[in-house]
């Protein structure tokens, strides 16, 4: 039986951030129904953690960290390939040229602006998992670097380079005519 305090904390720390939780889950697993399952799972984990008396200082980052973990377990079970690809992204990150756009033409700001919904969604979906989660947390959830660092467990420097890399990939995809 869940205690009164845990329920109250749940209402206070978790319920206000359901849209954020859902949006993140949606981008991590790529499907609305699966995202619902992941958020539900995450909420149950959150309630359990609150029951254990865990202190919550930054509720949104805390909840999104749980959503991320729940999404990773879900991906591990249902889309093991996505996790493998995430490993590949880590390697790419290690290279110093991660921020270069290489020899390809410079993406155009004007072209980026004309991209439609489907193009933007497809470009985000195509990002390797670690880049995608960092970008979604920053641009869609609006988390600060510090919150992203807390939610993903990566140091702030890594968060920054992932974000830069994710944006370079997106700009490349959206800003160069097909």
């Amino acid at each position: 039986m869940t205690s009164e305090t845990a329920r109250r904390n749940f209402a206070e720390h978790v319920l206000p951030h359901l849209d954020d939780a859902y949006s993140l889950a949606r981008w991590l697993c790529g499907d609305a129904t699966d995202a619902e399952d992941v958020v539900q799972d995450a909420c149950l984990r959150a309630l359990k953690a609150l029951e254990g008396g865990v202190p919550v200082e930054r509720p949104r980052a805390w909840l999104l960290a749980i959503v991320r973990n729940a999404a990773y377990s879900w991906l591990g079970k249902n889309r093991p390939r996505a996790i493998v690809l995430a490993g590949g992204a880590e390697e790419a990150e290690a290279h110093a040229d991660a921020l270069e756009t290489g020899g390809s033409p410079s993406p155009e700001a004007a072209l980026i602006e004309t991209a439609d919904r489907a193009m933007v969604a497809a470009a985000i979906d195509d990002l390797p998992l670690t880049f995608r989660e960092t970008l979604v947390m920053r641009e869609i959830n609006g988390l600060s670097y510090r919150d992203i660092s807390e939610a993903t467990g990566a140091p702030i420097g890594t968060v920054m380079s992932r974000l830069a890399r994710a944006r370079a990939l997106l700009a490349q995809k959206l800003g160069t005519a097909p």
Binding site: E36, D97, S106, I124
Partner: protein, 273 residues
């Protein structure tokens, strides 16, 4: 492209875009942007990208069904809300509802113009609606027509009232229709729909919107009941329930979405991912 410090400067650019620079950093960034057109172009690209993402991949709303399931997790079984409500009653409820009902009946019977005008104040209308909701619960007869099918409720109401009431199906959002009834507000019959949520009832009364009526839902507490009033153009709605205010909000959101869809013929921009 591999000038020394390029990576640092690029990260600085992102930090500037994300509002993560301190004042000294902002000044340094402005200096760099002014001096380096290539960097400035990169900054413009990043800004365009941000705009594109914000506009075309916005944060999504969690589905109502999920929200409600999660709200249930936070709900207590001992229902302390009920006690809080009783404490706020200043007079015995039965007397107040009886008086309000009497007032409404007097107005209805006499039909006097000045009486109707004076009871046009939102408070009197709300009071009457909340009283009707309370009476419906006390009497055990919350509805005049019992049906979970809106295609039964709508014509029933249409046959008795001069206005066609908006009846939407919210079963999927977790609020099955229980039926409809006619309440008396300011001397006129108005359609009231009754929806169910577990063993709670929600009454939604449809009124003609007042001129200055805001579309944004207003939250009030009448007789300790959470009440939400909002308008959608010509019509105004008042929802009353003994549900928690958060759940009532979820109901209002679901109702408005369904009603807007109904009116728009199922159109709208809901084609997003």
């Amino acid at each position: 492209m591999t000038r020394p410090g390029f990576e640092d400067r690029s990260l600085l650019l992102h930090a500037a875009l994300d509002g993560e620079l301190d004042a000294a950093g902002v000044i340094e960034m402005e200096r760099l942007l002014a001096a380096d057109p290539q960097l400035a172009a990169e900054y413009a690209r990043l800004k365009a990208l941000r705009e594109a993402i914000r506009a075309k991949a916005p944060r999504e709303r969690a589905p109502d069904s999920l929200r409600l399931r999660m709200m249930e997790l936070a709900e207590t079984k001992q229902a302390p809300r009920r006690e809080a409500k009783t404490a706020r009653w200043r007079d015995p409820p039965s007397w107040r509802s009886f008086a309000a009902a009497m007032a409404a009946t007097v107005v209805a019977t006499l039909g006097l113009q000045h009486l109707i005008a004076s009871s046009n104040a939102p408070d009197a209308a709300l009071q009457a609606i909340v009283s009707a909701h309370m009476r419906s619960q006390i009497s055990g007869q919350p509805v005049d027509v019992v049906s979970t099918d809106r295609h039964t409720v709508k014509p029933w109401l249409a046959g008795k009232l001069p206005v066609a009431a908006e009846v939407v199906d919210l079963a999927e959002a977790g609020f099955p229709l229980a039926g409809g009834r006619i309440d008396i507000v300011a001397g006129a019959g108005v359609p009231t729909l009754v929806y169910k949520r577990r063993d709670h009832l929600i009454s939604v009364t449809e009124l003609r919107a007042e001129g200055d009526e805001a579309a944004i839902p207003r939250h009030l507490a009448v007789e300790g009941y959470p009440v939400v009033r909002w308008s959608d153009g010509e019509r105004a709605y008042v929802a009353v329930s003994d549900l928690s205010p958060t759940e009532l909000d979820a109901f209002v959101a679901a109702f408005r979405r369904a009603a807007a869809k109904e009116r728009g013929g199922g159109g709208g921009s809901g084609a997003g991912k």
